[in-house]
Symmetry: C2
Subunit: 520 residues, 2 copies
């Protein structure tokens, strides 16, 4: 039986899809059972029946997209836009609201501009990190991208989810300089200096005049981004990578205090990610090679992993980018600071312009880290749980202990760590599972639900959430009776009165769906 969107009959859906087929062509409307399955969450547990798309439709151009939005309004059909749908661990291609039609933008994949003078590119949503990297290398352009650990996805999509990377340009959403957006009505808008036709500074100044809208279209359902301006980093003279190990769990306290200080002072200018041995082991092996006893993998086994890979309980790398003598000066400061706490030495490696790139260079897209989903064997998947913390080792260590205890309690192998930005730390937790093991995936979902609550009680919340947890995370943002949610709803209702664009994204529901959800 075909799925239908909430409050829509099968016949109504068919009429809407037929109208859309007249815009994009019948072969770009995907409504068969196989199609619907392919647009479900690639990492979704197989027994779950939530987040099921009714169909998918793939426009090729902004004009086609605008026409689809107008049709969606006429038919009151909810659409769920995806760039390339590789938001793995957070729901992938699937919608929050079952019965939404996925608006697949992956055919809109033009690299519209790469400007070496402005160190800038203008992209459509379908451009992947690999596409852009290919373009830069084919044309020998001296520009570096910042890529996430799993670079399979869309450059635009990742920045719109506040994803991160490991160069000085690693705060991807901060690199946005101007958007073109199709509003839910289908109307086209440009932000920043792009709001002036022919403005020459649109690659250079983010804000335009008056209120600035870019971040309103990030992690939201106020419009569909059709073009994104993004700053790229001029190729540096040199990089210096400094790898370090911490032997004991509680070493996290002094190390994060120190790394936070070095980040605040801009001695380190790129994200530092610190993780446990299981992170390394899961890239090269499967769980069955290490442990087949009950419950989560014990610490003693994790120490075996550490020994095998020559890493500490915690391992991290600091990366410096720029002129070699400046990197060296900063490196001396880092080493002197660490030397007060540890006799270990950094493992250093240098790259200079003109040399071949090192293996695992962080500006090169890779899907290597996806190997981890094979940890349990079978059809692997994962989910992310990512609260934001201020800098500070004590708070992070307490969060680690608290969270690890839940992993142990739920019998799930602990895979967590911290990514240090200039001003904050993300406690990144990856929950690995075999999608076809019902007990395991049920435990995973229950644990994440518990972690959201634990973490709120400890005074933190998440910056990003899987579809199934968007409402729960939005619920934690409770100041003044969820004033932020109510404000977002007010704007949502004004921009999308028919409630057709991504209902439920980040917990923002259009008016017509709100009666059946919470009443705040």
């Amino acid at each position: 039986m075909p799925l239908v969107p909430l409050k829509m009959s099968a016949a109504q859906l068919d009429r809407a899809l037929a109208a859309m087929a007249r815009v994009v062509g019948r072969d770009q409307v995907f409504a068969a059972e196989d199609d619907r399955r392919s647009y479900r969450d690639a990492y979704g547990p197989s027994h779950r029946s939530d987040h099921q798309p009714a169909a998918a439709v793939a426009p090729q151009s902004t004009e086609e997209l605008q026409a689809l939005l107008r049709i969606a309004n006429e038919h009151k059909l909810p659409l769920w836009p995806i760039s390339r749908g590789k938001n793995l661990g957070y729901g992938g291609t699937a919608p929050v609201l079952s019965g939404s039609v996925v608006l697949d933008l992956s055919r809109m994949k033009r690299i519209l501009e790469v400007d070496v003078k402005s160190n800038y590119c203008l992209l459509e949503p379908g451009v992947s990190f690999f596409d852009l990297y290919q373009h830069l290398t084919d044309n020998k352009l001296p520009l570096w991208m910042s890529v996430p650990a799993n670079s399979w996805g869309s450059v635009v999509g990742n920045a719109l989810e506040r994803g991160i990377g490991y160069t000085p340009y690693g705060e991807h959403t901060d690199r946005i300089c101007g958007l073109e957006v199709a509003l839910p009505s289908g109307e086209l808008l440009r932000t920043g200096m792009g709001a002036m036709s022919g403005n020459k500074a649109w690659r250079s100044y983010k804000y335009g005049f008056g209120p600035a809208w870019d971040q309103m279209f990030v992690q939201s359902n106020f419009g569909v981004v059709t073009k994104m301006g993004l700053w790229l980093m001029p190729e540096p003279e040199s990089t210096l990578t400094m790898q370090f190990e911490l032997d004991e769990p509680q070493d996290l306290v002094w190390a994060l205090d120190l790394l936070g200080e070095l980040r605040m002072r801009r001695v380190i200018d790129s994200h530092v990610t610190i993780g446990t041995p299981l992170r390394t082991a899961s890239l090269f092996t499967q769980r069955s090679e290490w442990y087949s006893g009950p419950g989560a993998v014990p610490d003693a086994v994790v120490r075996e992993m550490a020994k095998k890979y020559g890493v500490g309980w915690w391992t991290f790398a600091i990366r410096l980018f720029g002129y070699e003598e400046v990197n060296q000066a900063n490196a001396r400061i880092i080493k002197a600071a660490f030397g007060k706490h540890s006799t270990r030495e950094f493992k250093e490696s240098t790259w200079r312009r003109g040399e071949p790139l090192p293996r695992a260079a962080v500006q090169v897209p890779t899907t290597f880290f996806l190997q981890a989903v094979n940890w349990h064997g079978g059809r692997g998947g994962h989910m992310g749980f990512s609260p934001m913390l201020p800098h500070g080792g004590e708070g992070a260590y307490a969060q680690y202990l608290r969270t690890k205890q839940r992993f142990d309690e739920f019998g799930i192998d602990y895979y967590g760590g911290f990514t240090l930005a200039e001003r904050y730390a993300t406690n990144v937790n990856i929950v690995l599972y075999d999608r076809d093991q019902r007990d395991m995936t049920d435990r995973a979902y229950r644990m994440i639900d518990q972690l959201v609550k634990d973490t709120a009680q400890a005074g933190y919340s998440e910056y990003r959430a899987h579809l199934s947890f968007m409402d729960g995370v939005a619920e934690t943002y409770d100041f003044n009776h969820h004033a932020m949610r109510r404000l977002n709803q007010t704007v949502k209702d004004a921009l999308d009165p028919n409630g057709i664009l991504a209902p439920g994204k980040s917990g923002i529901w259009p008016r017509r769906f709100r009666a059946s959800k919470e009443t705040t």
Copy 2:
């Protein structure tokens, strides 16, 4: 005859003011003739009769402010919020719409928090740069502020106007981390991680979950900021200041190419401002000491100023902040780069932690630069005209020539320069005048009107505008029939249906005023 707001009778105004007096006390409602005059644009030409406030009212607390907003809604009384009203050159204390009541927030002046661990402060709008500096020095806190050249105003207000300073924290609006806002209804909202009660990361992560609102309350009329979280810079080990002169106007071309490159590569990590000899002369002398002939001060006289002060046609300083050896490494790179174009040497000076601060240290508030308004004698004033350019010396030089030609044409002394951010350059133009000289001020206004048009034709627009030019600047943002303005109006109508908050700010007019303005 007392002024009344558009569409409001004197009796209605009196009733509204009486209701407000019951909230704040009669002595905090300023409705006498003297009061109204004191809230006009301090730099406004004396013959002009626009931007006249009907009265002013000064709440002491957020609760009083919320009550005033509710009264404004009941009585449909337009309010114009000011932090301390020192937005000199852009309109100061005055409203766009004559007859608005100024909402003076300067009594809300608590420094609510200064956190040395998070390098952060939480401020009310009435806190001045001097207040905060006093607090930091009195308490010997190792935190540096970034202050604008004229630091007489409010820290919060400046960031809400996208003002800048000269430390690495000089992009003030980017240092905002969380706001508390009273919406036009009077309802209270917190943004970012502050949207969760008791969240411990609200000093550290800007964005929260879902769409991020902070920049929606900047240069806008969607809400009144009652608290602002702001990042402060940890006191650096050292600073290195490098002063340089360029002899000829066209030296701007290679110098801005080079400075832009050095900024993009983060060799220089703070704003560099480059200006002409008249900028220096106006700080120490008056026009009458140099020239009393017809028209604008001729270039030959400007060269005399250069000679007297030992500056070039252009003068600028590069400032490096951080560890001394890193500053030295960056300084060597800068000197090598400049050495390819000029045999001149930088004049360098170093400060190290523990030493007394140098004169004109850029983290110390000052009003010294206001001396310039005395240039013409009499009651001096100025207005700012500030288009945004991409990096690049040719474009900047063309903008300089084009703009200077207009100054010469209108008989106004050229006072212009460029401030280089990491990715863009602001062409800062200051129009100095004697407020009581009608011919001079009329020419100034006509010239700015012309400059807005010239500049739009050249492909640039402004990031900030004087009250009298907000509509004109908003008009240049014309992509898709002013889609951005229409979007802002949609949100404005949703958040402020009675149209009581800062009508006309950044060209955003509430519905009830739109019929009498342009129809787009």
